[in-house]
């Protein structure tokens, strides 16, 4: 069995708001194997990005453990955490907001090297910056450009170079391509796949775009309102989704086939508020198969065999079919 790099156990993150406790991430457990890409999908506001930030402790968890390479990062001291940061990095969604507009490209990429005192001399550091720019496909002449002078794809390459600077093993990709043009998306995704192979990286790939996630992930986790509702390898997820929510999501992917009539599940209503969420199954309010049991009892994440986990009382009873 593959080696686990990151293991999450009963992770919770609650935010205090004026209206009550916001359950952004509510008792989530999963693991990521070394060298794989775990896709994390869900609607906006379901807690995907919060989960990503908890995994590298950009946010402090309310409860639960994030075990990286055998160590619970939530227990680390400030100093230990600083050393740990070299191992885990993040690429952000918006390449416009994630780069300091006052700094040049080389300033941005050298920041991690400066604050961690990775290189003893400026010349060595600059050589490393040039190397990184080359790795992500940025021309050396752009070293002194400012981010606003570059297009979205190049900006995202800067973000990737910054994340790679400290030679991390684990990178959280927080919707890295959703702000980019489709033509550029493919370039960036390919670049990240190449980098993963070259540097043996492990990714958590967060996205709301199922076709992108399908393209890059080894396994996929579907989140709904702070909970993981289904977790499986990508083939199983796309061919045999068992949770009604995953089925609805997958039925919404347009297929480039003319005569195939697919069943389309249209979800009614809206995502309930994560502030003081309903009892029972979180999805019950919008589920077409809902029963009284769903409203009263919260389903556990059940093992359906073959590393396929589903949080539904009736998992396996309803299939997504073609009409």
């Amino acid at each position: 069995m593959a080696e686990k790099l990151v293991e999450v156990r009963n992770l919770k993150k609650y935010f205090k708001t004026a209206k009550g406790l916001l359950h952004a991430v509510d008792d989530v457990s999963f693991h990521i194997n070394k060298g794989e890409t775990l896709g994390l999908v869900g609607e906006s506001g379901c807690g995907k990005s919060t989960t990503g930030r908890l995994l590298i402790r950009l946010l402090d968890a309310t409860e639960g453990e994030v075990i990286y390479d055998g160590k619970d990062i939530n227990q680390l001291s400030k100093k230990e955490m600083r050393a740990m940061r070299k191992e885990m990095q993040i690429v952000f969604q918006d390449p416009y907001a994630s780069l300091n507009p006052r700094l040049t490209v080389s300033d941005i990429i050298s920041e991690p090297l400066i604050v961690n005192k990775t290189y003893s001399t400026k010349a060595k550091r600059e050589a490393r910056v040039r190397e990184l720019m080359d790795t992500v496909g940025l021309a050396p002449r752009l070293a002194n450009a400012y981010p606003h002078e570059l297009d979205g794809g190049r900006r995202q390459r800067i973000g990737i170079a910054r994340a790679l600077a400290l030679k991390p093993k684990f990178i959280v990709q927080d919707e890295p391509v959703s702000a980019l043009d489709v033509s550029i998306q493919a370039q960036i995704l390919n670049l990240m796949a190449d980098l993963q192979e070259k540097f043996e990286l492990t990714y958590l790939f967060i996205s709301h775009d199922l076709s992108v996630v399908k393209h890059v992930s080894d396994r996929i986790a579907v989140m709904y309102l702070g909970k993981i509702v289904e977790l499986a390898d990508y083939q199983t997820m796309f061919n045999d989704p068992l949770h009604p929510y995953s089925q609805a999501l997958l039925s919404a992917i347009p297929l480039p086939t003319l005569d195939l009539k697919k069943e389309r599940i249209l979800l009614e209503g809206d995502v309930p508020s994560p502030i003081n969420p309903p009892k029972g199954c979180r999805f019950a309010g919008r589920c077409r198969h809902r029963t009284d049991k769903c409203l009263a009892e919260e389903p556990e994440l059940k093992d359906m065999g073959g590393d396929h986990f589903v949080a539904c009382h009736y998992a396996g009873e309803f299939k997504l079919g073609t009409v």
Binding site: I90, F92, N100, P112, P140, R141, N144, R162
Partner: protein, 297 residues
């Protein structure tokens, strides 16, 4: 082949040569005519203050009671005041006091207010609440009253006036800087800096403050004007600059009673204050734009 490579390398080295940050700011500032006009006026004022004895033959306290309240003429360019002192001379010498008070007191306010505001805005929580409520208390007391109490406690004199005016202006600076820090704090590039292990101090100084600079500079240049006037107010009630030291605001206040019959007594100190503030505002606007690499054309 090798030669080609060497040439290529040389070219890329040259292109990649670091553009100095401040050099570029000045380059951009130079292109802004209004800002340069402001800078030139300000430099002239400073030179005027520095070389006052060379510029004017009179002394600022010499009274010619025989020629009181004379209008502008060839000897007394701006006329004389109610004690027969040459107004031009007093304005030239007054530049020393007014510029000093204006710039240094706002310097104090921006430094203290900026530091408190930046820390409060960045960390939030109890420290923020504590600092900002204290600033609210200071704001609740009218600025002039606050300055009066501070000067009354410390004693009159130019240094104490600067301290008093500086403290009086601190809460406003702190508020403005806190607000702009809070705006920048939640941006993703700050999170990115945290993710690579940047210390809080470096985040504040390298990432947040440069991006909050625009508001800070505008607020500071506006503050200088207020500080000059506040110092004038203190002088007027006898707690500020002691006579016979010339101070533009004090001259304005003294001339008030002659406003109806002798326009020149108040007009010229007023013009001096206005020119200074105008120049500072022009320069402040220009600096704000020059410091923003996004506005580069």
């Amino acid at each position: 082949m090798t030669k080609n490579k060497a040439v290529e390398h040389a070219i890329s080295e040259r292109e990649v040569k670091k553009r100095s940050q401040w050099g570029m700011v000045f380059q951009r500032l130079k292109r802004n005519k209004m800002a340069m006009a402001g800078l030139v006026i300000l430099i002239l004022l400073i030179l005027m203050a520095a070389f006052a004895p060379v510029i004017t033959p009179f002394s600022y306290y010499y009274q010619q009671l025989g020629s009181r309240l004379q209008g502008p003429c060839s000897t007394h360019w701006f006329g004389t005041d109610h004690l027969g002192r040459d107004i031009f001379t007093r304005i030239v010498y007054g530049a020393r006091v007014s510029l000093q008070v204006g710039l240094i007191s706002i310097g104090i306010a921006t430094l203290i207010g900026g530091l408190l505001g930046a820390i409060a805005g960045y960390y939030g929580g109890h420290f923020d609440t504590g600092v900002m409520r204290f600033m609210d208390i200071l704001l609740a007391v009218p600025g002039i009253l606050l300055a009066i109490s501070i000067v009354a406690a410390l004693g009159p004199g130019i240094t104490n006036v600067m301290i008093a005016v500086g403290i009086g202006a601190t809460p406003v600076e702190a508020r403005v800087i806190r607000a702009s820090v809070m705006q920048v704090r939640d941006q993703e590039f700050v999170e990115a800096a945290k993710a690579v292990g940047t210390s809080d101090l470096r985040i504040i100084f390298k990432h947040i403050l440069p991006n909050a600079m625009a508001q800070i500079i505008v607020q500071a240049t506006l503050g200088v004007a207020g500080a000059i006037l506040a110092a004038a107010g203190l002088s007027f009630i006898g707690l500020g600059i002691q006579p016979p030291s010339p101070e533009w605001g004090a001259m304005l206040s003294e001339g008030r009673q002659h406003l109806r019959d002798h326009w020149h007594v108040t007009t010229f100190p007023g013009i001096a204050i206005m020119t200074t503030i105008f120049a500072l505002n022009l320069l402040g606007d220009g600096l704000r734009d020059a410091l923003d690499p996004k506005l580069k054309n």
